[in-house]
């Protein structure tokens, strides 16, 4: 939520339809981006000094030298478990230590032995485990190639764009050289550089040479101070940016690096700005644009029919990513040519990363399958947290529900209109003057009564807790943070202050573990007055948003302990959510799973809860973009993603609202939200017809909750996305590589939302040669590997179940997911052309960690083969008792049997059934077996 309210003055943005671009930097306005991007494509000045090579069991170190300025870098190479390579580059002797990102990796990644295959003057060849997988290091210029057999998978510094601005002492006099003097320096520089080259050819550097090298780089503008609009970045440490390029021969499709309002497949950036990763509170963002948004995950995936790979650039500073199309022959050179070839006209994608500070720390994930990359990345940064089942239900939000009576009335509205929901949300107005952890005394005098009222309906609430803290000596939270000295500091050492919702606000230093521990303790029931077990948390504005800061965020020269904000910026939001989630766990004594929604995020944020795509708008384009935006997040581990249903800004017409509910019902995080200034839009305010359509969409969601829950369990266990691009499941089908108007949920459901106004039909691509798909609404069967025109009405969007799958549903829809806990299952068995199907069922208590700590869960495989459907245990050592039973089995694409028999440990009995010849659906009545037991249903 953004609504520029600055010290009581409304910045009148009336009539501004989209983002005010001038508030945000272009690459040209970000001095390091401009410097890096204008760097020439000459041969890399970096050379490996092979004499310095040291190889321990799993780690190779080697010095690199920049022949222009003689600064030395230290390269570290690791072979990691699970087919990954880690590459770290830092200065050999930095003037000060450079920031290395903590708390994102789940641990020190386990290594595997690295062995030398060969070594000569040109470089070395290392084995990555098998004979086929090798790493070829070329010394002059420095480049790395990862090869598999005769195929080059990936090259590092193939275009020679490795750059490392070494830290240097401040020379204020030099930083202010005018441009005329600058051109003088050019000629002096040329003199020096030719001299230097002569003197030091093949030799180690001298201090003097290094000095000269420094001087010749001093004149670039913006190195020691940078101004954007009225904001000055004092840059006390001077230039510190880094850059590295990667070439991907044979690759035409790259994905990831969210968050951008962009198609799933990334575009080349030659004609405009690079994709930017810098967490920002963007007011009314534009679509199809490389501008930075609220979150940043520096992970890029490449895919072709043979292989999927990933590059994880672990850096939390402002980062830009350039993508260009190339041909493979152009960048292949050096030692690798002895080992591998690529057709010189093969397509290639070049990717270049550059960050403002920190070190180069890159994880190259070699796949080869999409699922391998997910596993590899999950092994580094962890998997999606396993959310409480109820959080997969529907969330009703608005800025703002005004008071307790309003909450009660909206809650009653859902009952009156028989629409299920699990969570009602309170935005910032619920607090006492935007002092988080408090309640407005007039409008929310009895928060516990309100929460109990919801609890009686087995429903829950989320209240917002933002990380900006009102500077007010009467506010306990502020006083404590100040007295504990836990606020972020400004460049002069005082507490950093900025404007946000409460007016002047301080920003807790969440990078400090002490701050996070204290923050977590504030969620204890006796500290957070009015809170109860059914109150959960929403962290907004955690980019952090600073209304009067540069680019609406914190000044880069603000101080977090020993680091500049510049170094940690993209981590701030992750830390806020981490501390909040920890607080929710602690308040329950470690028993209950937390739920925290965040707007800002980074690699690893998936471990702490859900994200949403920020302040979108009630426009068809925003509905459409919600698909690729969440798909991109899913690819980089963040599965629990959603967009504000209805659109945050502006006012949706009924058709758009209905279509958005229908789409949101099939996206992981399903929450309606609206701006303060919009008219009310609870689902029943658009006439009985639209109410019925919305009710139906929400009920479809609730029926599928068992499947959603099972998908999240898998995401939690393996890192596989819940909402997937088609290519993830059909990696060899080139037709799927650019599809982002439809998606898969798990492997079994294909969803094609309707995102055009007045649509009469959509073209759905059903993948899979020799596969079949069943329309989830009509059970009509369609062949795979075709584009199918599906006529649509307003009543629903096309959803298909894959032939060969079994999906458990709970078709008794009640007022909340918790009310459905003990309800029976209906199994939807969609037969493959071979007459087989399989699926799973996962059951636990839905809200505690007992599934993990005490193995209290049921996980069963459901298999249909040879005319028999059976349930077998997938997890012998787990235990859980459920009251749920199997109510009904629908077999899609079946034939009429003469008899149906149920076999259990207690014996056999025959079951009633009916067969609809028109749809080929066999309905088996009431097996009645407990969902956790072994059973078989035989068709004869």
């Amino acid at each position: 939520m953004v609504w520029f309210l600055v010290a009581g003055v409304l910045l009148v943005l009336n009539g501004v339809r989209a983002v005010d671009r001038s508030n945000f930097k272009t690459c040209d306005q970000s001095s390091f981006c401009k410097r890096m991007r204008t760097m020439g494509l000459d041969q890399s000045p970096y050379r490996a000094i092979l004499e310095t090579l040291e190889l321990s069991d799993s780690r190779l170190t080697l010095q690199l030298i920049n022949d222009n300025n003689k600064v030395r870098l230290l390269l570290e190479l690791y072979r990691l478990q699970g087919n990954m390579t880690r590459l770290k580059i830092n200065e050999l002797k930095p003037l000060r230590s450079r920031f290395e990102v903590p708390d994102v990796l789940v641990g020190e990644p386990p290594t595997k032995p690295l062995s030398m295959v060969s070594r000569d003057e040109a470089g070395v060849v290392l084995s990555l485990g098998t004979d086929a997988h090798q790493l070829v290091l070329n010394a002059r210029p420095f480049r790395l190639d990862i090869v598999e057999g005769a195929r080059v998978l990936l090259s590092v510094n193939g275009r020679g764009l490795l750059a490392f601005e070494h830290l240097r002492p401040r020379k204020d006099t030099l930083s202010k050289i005018s441009s005329t003097v600058g051109s003088m320096w050019d000629s002096i520089k040329n003199m020096f550089s030719s001299n230097t080259q002569k003197d030091s050819e093949g030799e180690e550097t001298t201090e003097g040479a290094q000095e000269e090298g420094e001087e010749r780089e001093e004149e670039e503008p913006g190195m020691w101070e940078e101004t954007f609009k009225s904001h000055v970045d004092s840059k006390p440490n001077g230039p510190s940016s880094i850059s590295l390029d990667f070439s991907l021969p044979g690759v035409e499709h790259v994905y990831g690096i969210p968050e951008h309002a962009e198609n799933l497949r990334l575009k080349t950036t030659d004609k405009g700005d690079p994709y930017r990763l810098y967490n920002l509170d963007v007011f009314q963002y534009e679509l199809y644009n490389p501008m930075a948004l609220y979150g940043a995950v520096p992970v890029l995936l490449s895919h072709n029919a043979q292989r999927t790979m990933g590059i994880f650039w672990l850096n939390a500073a402002e980062t830009w990513v350039d993508i260009s199309a190339n041909t493979a022959g152009k960048t292949l050179s050096g030692k690798v040519l002895d080992h591998a070839q690529v057709p010189s006209d093969a397509p290639q994608t070049d990717v270049r990363w550059f960050s403002e500070s920190g070190i180069i720390d890159v994880f190259i994930m070699l796949g080869p399958k999409p699922s391998d990359v997910f596993t590899q990345y999950a092994s580094l940064t962890g998997t999606q947290s396993f959310p409480p089942l109820s959080t997969l239900g529907y969330h009703q939000c608005r800025w703002n529900y005004n008071d307790q009576e309003d909450v009660r009335a909206v809650d009653a509205g859902f009952d009156e209109h028989d629409i299920p929901y699990d969570f009602i949300w309170l935005d910032i107005e619920h607090t006492d003057g935007k002092r988080y952890f408090t309640w407005d005394a007039a409008n929310f005098p009895q928060p516990r009564d309100m929460l109990r009222g919801l609890q009686d309906k087995r429903r829950k609430m989320v209240a917002i807790v933002d990380p900006h803290i009102k500077v007010d000596s009467g506010y306990r939270i502020h006083n404590e943070i100040r007295s504990r000295n836990l606020y972020v500091k400004d460049k002069d050492g005082g507490n950093y202050e900025g404007w946000c919702w409460p007016g002047t606000a301080g920003y807790p230093d969440f990078t400090d573990p002490e701050m996070r521990a204290w923050w977590a303790s504030m969620f204890a029931y006796d500290k957070y007055e009015g809170s109860m077990e059914n109150l959960y948390t929403w962290n907004d504005m955690n980019e952090p948003s600073v209304f009067n800061g540069p680019e609406v965020t914190m000044h880069k020269d603000a101080i977090h302990g020993t680091w500049e904000h510049r170094d940690v910026h993209n981590l701030y939001g992750l830390y806020v959510q981490m501390a909040t989630a920890e607080g929710l766990i602690q308040r329950s004594g470690g028993v209950e799973r937390p739920f925290v929604l965040t707007r800002a995020f980074f690699a690893g944020s998936q471990r702490y809860g859900a994200v949403w795509t920020g302040d979108n708008a009630a426009e068809w384009g925003h509905l459409k973009i919600s698909i690729p935006m969440c798909l991109s997040l899913g690819l980089v581990g963040i599965s629990f993603c959603g967009a504000d249903v209805g659109g945050f800004f502006k006012n949706p017409g009924p058709e758009l609202l209905v279509r958005w509910y229908q789409t949101g019902a099939y996206q992981p995080f399903f929450r309606a939200h609206a701006h303060l200034d919009t008219p009310r839009r609870e689902p029943w305010l658009f006439g009985p017809q639209n109410t019925a359509l919305i009710r139906d969409a929400v009920r479809q969601r609730y029926a599928l909750l068992p499947y959603w829950y099972q998908l999240f369990y898998h995401a939690h266990r393996t890192g596989e996305p819940v909402m997937r691009p088609l290519w993830v499941e059909y990696p060899q089908d080139v037709a799927t590589f650019t599809i982002d108007d439809q998606f898969l949920l798990g492997r079994h459901l294909l969803v094609h939302p309707v995102t055009e106004q007045g649509s009469q039909g959509v073209s759905v691509y059903l993948p899979g040669v020799g596969e079949v798909w069943y329309d989830a609404h009509t059970f009509r069967r369609h062949d795979g590997d075709q584009n199918l025109f599906v006529p649509v009405t307003l009543s629903s969007i096309p959803v298909f179940q894959r032939g060969g799958s079994i999906i458990p549903r709970k078709v008794r829809i009640r007022r909340s997911s918790t009310c459905m806990e003990n309800d029976p299952y209906t199994l939807y068995v969609a037969l493959s052309p071979q007459g087989t199907a399989d699926g799973e069922i996962y059951i636990d208590d839905g809200h505690t960690f007992n599934y993990d700590r005490q193995k209290q869960f049921i996980h069963r495989r459901l298999t249909f083969a040879n005319s028999s459907l059976s349930s077998s245990n997938l997890s012998a050592d787990s235990q859980f008792t459920t009251a749920s039973w199997i109510e009904r089995v629908l077999i899609l694409g079946g034939q009429e049997p003469s008899a149906v028999t149920l076999r259990t440990a207690d014996g056999s009995r025959s079951l009633e059934f009916e067969f609809d010849a028109a749809t080929s659906v066999l309905t088996i009545h009431k097996p009645g077996v407990n969902a956790g037991s072994d059973w078989t249903v035989l068709l004869q």
Binding site: R458, D677, I813, R814, R815, C819, G928, N930, S933
Partner: protein, 542 residues
Amino acid sequence: MMFRLQVFLIVSLGAALGAAVEVQRPRGVPLEKRHFYDESRPFTCLDGSRTIPFDRVNDDYCDCKDGSDEPGTAACPNGSFHCTNAGFRATFIPSSRINDGVCDCCDTTDEYNSGVSCQNTCRELGQKERETLEKMAEITREGFLLKRQLIEEAKQGLQEKQGKLSELQASRKEHEEKVDALRTVKETAEQPEREAKERHLKAWEAQKAALQLEKEKAKMAEVFLELDGDADGLVSVSELQTHQELDPDGDGALTDTEAQGLLSGADKVDSAGFQNVWSNIKDKYVSESQPAPPPPQEPQDSEVDQDKDSSKDSDKDADQAYPEDDAGDEEDDEEEDDDDDVPEEYDDKAPPAGPPAEHSDDSDGAMPSYDEETQALIDAAQKARDEFDSAEKSLREVDDQIKSLEKEISFDFGPSAEFAYLYSQCYELTTNEYIYRLCPFNRVSQKPKYGGSETNLGSWGSWNGPEGSKYSIMKYDHGTGCWQGPNRSTTVKLTCGKETAVLSTSEPSRCEYLMEFSTPAICQEPPSLETVAPETDPHDEF
């Protein structure tokens, strides 16, 4: 694991009736449908779609499309469950609320197998409801009596107003006649006045023209001397060229030919010939001894300011007093409080000024005062004018009153004009932050409690209730605009009450306000108490 469901429920009532009565029927079936559920026969779905063995009624599996085979379980998506709720009102709930862990029926019968323990609250609820109903009934009764009174008063008020209106309409005629008569008197008096004034003016102008001619001659002589640099009594081309400002084509240079042209083709002219030349050049000529032009005159606006102030004052008065449609649907309406654009002539209470002030650049002095005779004619005419104006003003006032009355009479004050008493009243409600003010049929406003300007939350729009109860809701719209939002508007819901008061205000949606307003005028004729007593509730058992 399947739980066996109890198919039959022993419905035990009677504590209230003093005798225990037991009726057997499937769970969730209302008494009046009991006969459809006969355990000795197969069950036919109530929509007739299917017949099933009776043991499949309430067996927790949905067989009937209409859900009628599962009145007591949650198996059917469209089923409903009947709560007897002895002691309170019987009701139906959606069958999805059976055993969902939430107590819906006050008799607890919906939660028979969910593990949740519900308290039977029917007796309490019944009691409470009876109390509420009684209270409501009392309010309605008393409110309705007040309403009758209001209707009576409105009727009288209307009669009075109509009486007043006819009176005014009658007196309007008199006023009109008077105005006509005085107009004649005025015009008669103005004729000699005008003639006398004209005479006076002409005499003065003749005198002025003679003076002007003298001056002109003197000036020309002076210039001639000034130009005649060599004092030869002739003005030559070169002498003329010392005055470049005389350049006729504006190129900045007065050429020989041009100068000659100015001298009517001659090389030199004497003082007599200069007369023609002078008329050519006098507009441009800058004398060497010419004084600086006077500074531009400051506009005199103090009078205008006064006008504005006075109209502001009248606006303030209007706030207290009578409603004028902001929309301005009656354009010819000229009430004083209408707006700032009151035509000046109406407000001008000062006697008309004498002859128009001379806007002459000359400083030859003012026109001499009128002679006695002329002045007497002017005074007489002025008196006639004053009398005419005063009569015309009275007529206007009468017109205004008529219009205002006609407007009030034509207002929709409800079927029996019961809402008429709200006209020209205002009601306030003070909340934590704001004072809300509802002036029915006029406007709604909001003012911060601790200083700050008033915000218009909407002006009277229309009655906006649903069909059948049109007069239950008032709509006020076109209030002050919202940032990036609509104009503010207010919906006023009327509820029956003895008092006339604003009960509550809220802003359910940004800039859309909701007000609850109690008034006896909305009270309906009370039904007799007995029909609402639970004892005779047709839905109750027996």
